[in-house]
């Protein structure tokens, strides 16, 4: 889960003694912001959004003329950045920047270890830095890391500013400790600046990107509130879906992401869901959501996610698709959970009978489960085909496309 910059500064950078500019965050212009600005000769104002490349979108502005602060603040605190609405603005002291470095810590799957990535040529997007100027220090023993190791690394890459060796090595170790201690999967500072302060120089983190491990020992969604990774607020149905798995570890049914489309995807398993969604898109179906149900959830969870999936407006087809489950009970998930959702929705007049369904599923008690679902289709007047694993899993979306073209004149996307 990605943190907003002010959250990273307040909760993590401070704790691990990573030097940052003086700052204040606010959702709207208030006295705290005014008092802060009063004391600073100049400020930098940033829109608080999760999306990156804010500078290029004009969402980071340097303001030296104090009469402009209110106007700039109100604009940046409320504007859309690449479609994501700002939740407020961060106001920071304007630093007297001498140079800009790039620093990040992340997991390298090449080394299967944390990697400290450093470049003397920061300030631009990391993709734009010449790869020859980017250097990596792999932490191959996570039991201990000392600044001397970082100094050896810096000397080894020909780091040009010897005077900074000690302070920089100490900051880098603090940044690594912040990454490790906060259970991040990415901690990025771009730029890490060298700023003049009177006749002294200091190292300051002028940006803070932190992505926490969603599986961290302390769940970040509990600490910081659940948020969409898509740079938009969660929809009501997405929020409702998250609640399904809270406080109930039996299986997983609450992973639900909405897209703009007309095919409801009730898919099972991490891999199975991905290949099914993939094939559906390649076949020209416009998918309305992604789900990833698994781990043998009880009927109650299936009931709730089924209702959420089917309540999205504008649906034309439904694909219920999973591989051959090893422990997810098909009678419980489809025969009980899904079937009851359909019965109840029909009784409440909320079931769209024009939907075209394809079901493809196998696993424990699938004969019973698919028969129960068929009976449910019959009593509720639902149109569809039900397959077991004789139909290869990824042929199911293709079959749905054929049926929708035949029965409702569906016009698939032309995929190149």
């Amino acid at each position: 889960m990605k943190l907003y910059e002010h959250e990273a500064l307040g909760a993590i950078f401070k704790k691990y003694k990573i030097p940052v500019p003086r700052y204040v965050f606010s959702a709207e212009m208030n006295d705290a912001v005014r008092q802060f600005v009063e004391k600073e000769p100049g400020v930098v104002i940033k829109s608080m959004v999760l999306v990156g490349k804010r500078g290029k979108a004009g969402a980071v502005k340097v303001v030296s003329d104090k009469s402009q602060v209110e106007k700039v603040f109100s604009d940046l605190a409320t504007r859309d950045v690449y479609g994501e609405k700002s939740i407020g603005a961060l106001v920071e002291e304007k630093l007297d920047i001498e140079k800009e470095f790039y620093l990040s810590v992340t997991y390298s799957t090449k080394d299967r270890a944390p990697a400290i990535i450093f470049s003397e040529h920061g300030g631009m997007d990391v993709e734009e830095i010449d790869p020859k100027l980017i250097h990596t220090y792999v932490v191959s023993d996570v039991r201990s890391i000392y600044p001397y190791q970082i100094r050896q690394f810096l000397v080894g890459i020909g780091f040009s500013d010897k005077e900074l060796l000690r302070p920089l090595s100490e900051v880098i170790v603090n940044v690594y400790n912040a990454f490790w201690g906060s259970e991040s999967r990415l901690l990025e500072i771009n730029p890490l600046v060298v700023a003049r302060s009177g006749d002294k120089r200091k190292i300051v983190a002028a940006d803070a990107v932190v992505i926490l491990d969603d599986d961290a020992s302390v769940n970040p969604a509990v600490v910081y509130g659940a948020r969409s990774a898509q740079g938009r607020p969660l929809t009501q149905r997405e929020q409702d879906a998250i609640l399904i798995d809270q406080g109930d570890h039996r299986g997983k049914a609450g992973s639900y992401v909405e897209l703009e489309g007309d095919i409801a995807m009730m898919t099972f398993g991490g891999g199975g869901s991905t290949v099914t969604a993939e094939t559906a898109i390649e076949a020209g179906l416009r998918i309305a959501n992604l789900t990833d149900i698994g781990g043998n959830p009880p009927a109650e969870k299936m009931y709730r996610i089924s209702r959420i999936i089917l309540s999205k407006p504008g649906l034309k087809g439904v694909l219920v698709c999973g591989g051959t489950a090893s422990n997810t009970r098909i009678d419980v998930t489809l025969g009980e959970g899904l079937a009851k959702a359909l019965d109840d929705m029909n009784a409440e007049g909320k079931l769209d009978k024009n939907l075209v369904w394809v079901v493809r599923r196998s696993g424990p008690e699938y004969v019973k489960g698919l028969k129960m679902l068929h009976e449910c289709f019959v009593r509720n007047g639902i149109r569809g085909e039900i397959y077991d694993s004789q139909l290869p899993i990824t042929e199911a979306p293709i079959r749905l496309k054929e049926l929708m073209i035949k029965h409702i004149g569906y016009k698939p996307e032309q995929v190149v």
Binding site: K110, S140, R185, D214, A229, G269, G271, G272, G323, R383
Partner: protein
């Protein structure tokens, strides 16, 4: 030895977290499919319990010292909650268990990293986290892979299936079984960011095994484990036929950072794209028998085109009819 280093005729399993809901079901199923393969279970506080068909101990130390089963234990199957996995792994390594399967999902990455570094130091084999286990039809099964009736998916043959996804491991074995290819080994390596046992690790272990006729590899976006296979093959480290399918091309049309599927299946800052992985494997395919299937179900055609011989007859019919239709 019959089988592989992951699962062979000497394998003796101890289940850590044995009396939990999933683990106890797996032990009972394993006992009916391959009697005697599971030797013991560990649940602190449940030592001496008779609720399982195998003896239960409070600690692994007691189990390995037990005169009846102690010497037979060499493989651990870990079914504890995510935050207890590191502890369970250390208990296994410190008690001399050298092959471990972590079935638990959502292990904190930091713990996975500590586990990986310990594994390297101790020279152990660890599969997972988020593994579903291993199946070698000629020898036995570890974990729930294949469920109560694995014969639907698994029949002895020459294909090795390696997948991050447990579900797709079984689904793929079944797709091939219906078309005439049996499984020599199916291994669900898990989709975590820090994988203790990557595709390349598996290929290195099985490269000299004459029973391996071809490999089916199911990859995902994120990380670089699929690319490592291309590197291994290009360096001459594996020369048998490999049919790959890399899912997740569609993710590239979505906003960056959309987390879907496995923990490791996330593309960040342009790294780990499915299309890049496909390109790397296809490049290896210019000199070695490696092919990438466009659709998942094209894997069957791919294995066929690589010349991997069928183990038995194709049992499918031209057109699959639905079990039920309400049109």
């Amino acid at each position: 030895m019959k089988g592989t280093v992951y699962l062979n005729d000497k394998t003796g399993i101890v289940v850590i977290g044995a009396t939990g809901r999933e683990a106890s079901q797996v032990i009972k199923e394993s006992e009916s499919l391959y009697p005697g393969i599971v030797k013991a279970g560990i649940t602190p506080g449940k030592g001496g319990s008779t609720e399982l068909p195998v003896p239960v101990f409070d600690t692994l130390k007691e189990a390995v010292s037990d005169p009846k089963v102690g010497k037979l234990l060499n493989t651990a199957l870990i079914y504890v909650p995510p935050v207890s996995v590191l502890d369970a792994v250390m208990e296994c390594l410190d008690n001399g268990i050298k092959v471990l399967y972590i079935i638990t999902e959502h292990v904190p990455i930091r713990d996975s990293e500590i586990i990986y570094q310990e594994k390297v130091r101790r020279g152990a084999i660890i599969v997972g986290g988020t593994s579903l286990g291993c199946f070698v039809p000629s020898v036995g099964r570890i974990g729930a892979i294949g469920g109560k009736d694995p014969s639907v998916a698994f029949r002895d043959g020459g294909i090795v299936v390696i997948s991050k996804s447990g579900g797709l491991t079984v689904t793929t074995a079944e797709m091939f079984r219906r078309r005439g290819w049996g499984t020599y080994m199916a291994l669900a390596i898990g989709g975590d960011i820090i994988s203790n046992n990557t595709y390349a690790d598996v290929l290195k272990e099985i490269k000299g095994d004459p029973r391996v006729k071809g490999v089916v590899m199911l990859g995902e976006p994120g990380g670089s484990y699929e690319e490592q296979v291309a590197d291994l093959i290009l360096s001459g480290g594996f020369d048998k036929p490999v049919a790959a399918f890399i899912s997740g091309r569609f993710q590239e049309r979505m906003p960056e950072g959309v987390a879907f599927g496995h923990a490791g299946a996330i593309v960040e800052r342009g790294m780990g794209k499915a299309t890049d992985k496909i390109a790397r494997l296809e490049a290896a395919g210019k000199r070695y028998p490696v092919k990438v299937a466009f659709y998942y179900h094209d894997l069957v055609k791919t294995i066929e085109s690589l010349g991997v011989p069928r183990d038995f007859e194709d049992s499918t019919t031209e057109h699959v009819k639905p079990l039920y239709s309400t049109f």
